[in-house]
Assembly symmetry: C2
Homo-oligomer: 205 residues x 2
DNA sequence: GTCTATAAGAAGATAGAC
DNA sequence: GTCTATCTTCTTATAGAC
């Protein structure tokens, strides 16, 4: 891989663990296998590296979001697919979403960087909330709304349904970011949650 | 208030917003209203201030946890209190917990500091998970278990019930930490969540 | 594009007067 | 206990050879 791209990858890895300020230009260079001054041939400053990571992410996100049907723009189309949703379908969808967010290396590192930088940088706070709250809520709320309207699920507030479906996934993801070794303990709980959710909301038509 | 204590308060405020590394000794001194060198008469280093904040928190937590019945040690006693729990009781308990966590100035600042320092410091990661996951889960799981056993709520997995009850509170708290102005939008959703939860799990005896 | 050498400045901490 | 002055170290960034 070319050096310019490798700098971004190593910098993201370091920023996600130690935060922007505790990563020194020499650390990034060392991870790439060059000396610090060489790095300035590729980026004009440390801040420039950070900005390039953000730009790269913005390019990636819309693609991934639409791939995962997470952007809330096409929920009505997706609801057709889910109109005959079973408990197993919901488990598959929820576990797939959870596992992707939790294990995709790039997604995980970027989320951890957002986590530790969010209060210093309002832009990152907005990105975090959009990617991990607003977008999932908006998509899932639309989906549960359709499923309720179709009688597949009970006629309850779809915003609340989305909150109750997604929050456990989000919360356990944050725990696993801190303690990857506890993943084994929590994965079964996620599946039990989704099955219990499905049972509780099963329509009575 | 004495200077030694004020240093801790101002340092916590700064650490919670900017993280340990981006807060300079001069910033803390300035917030207190003294010059940086004076600060070394009270603490021997910047790290010493951070450690003192942690020690102070450890002294506070057990008291507050037992006050809030959050430590999971006396759930059986509390379940008696809740054995005749109504939807309004559950709303009161959930909203009280949420509002306390979200608005208590000290609790909020300490949580934000844990958030931004968690990946650098394994001790902080453990404290975060204990205070915001393990302790609430253990208490609530015991409580819902009792309420299920007493027929007040359906006989479902109490660990999952605790996860589904508490995760939305936790997740919305993290959103409000980033965007305090969105609190007005989310508080009604929290209440709707608790009422919907209560209705879904209401026992059929 | 990578290196060594180094400038420029920031930040933690100490010395010593008051 | 607070101050001014200062030391030391660390960190970003540049200069210039190869």
């Amino acid at each position: 891989m070319n050096t310019k791209k490798r700098i971004l990858d190593e910098a993201l890895t370091l920023f996600s663990e130690k935060g922007y300020s505790d990563v020194f230009v020499a650390d990034i260079a060392n991870a790439v296998g060059i000396k610090a001054p060489s790095l300035y041939k590729h980026y004009k400053s440390k801040q420039d590296i950070f900005d390039a990571i953000l730009d790269e992410m913005k390019g990636n996100y819309e693609n991934k979001a639409s791939m995962l049907n997470m952007n809330g723009n096409n929920a009505s189309a997706d609801a057709m697919v889910f109109s005959a949703v079973s408990e197993d379908d919901l488990v598959k969808m929820g576990m797939g979403l959870f596992m992707y967010f939790l294990h995709d290396d790039y997604v995980k590192k970027f989320r951890k960087m957002l986590t530790v930088e969010q209060f210093k940088n309002p832009d990152l706070a907005l990105i975090f909330t959009k990617q991990y709250a607003d977008d999932p809520f908006s998509y899932q709320s639309a989906m549960f709304g359709m499923l309720s309207a179709g009688g597949v699920l009970k006629a309850e507030n779809p915003d609340v349904m989305a909150l109750q479906f997604y929050s456990p996934l989000f919360m356990i993801m944050t725990i696993c970011d801190r303690h990857p070794e506890r993943e084994r303990e929590y994965i079964p709980l996620i599946e039990q949650h989704i099955r219990q959710f499905s049972r509780l909301y099963k329509g009575e038509n």
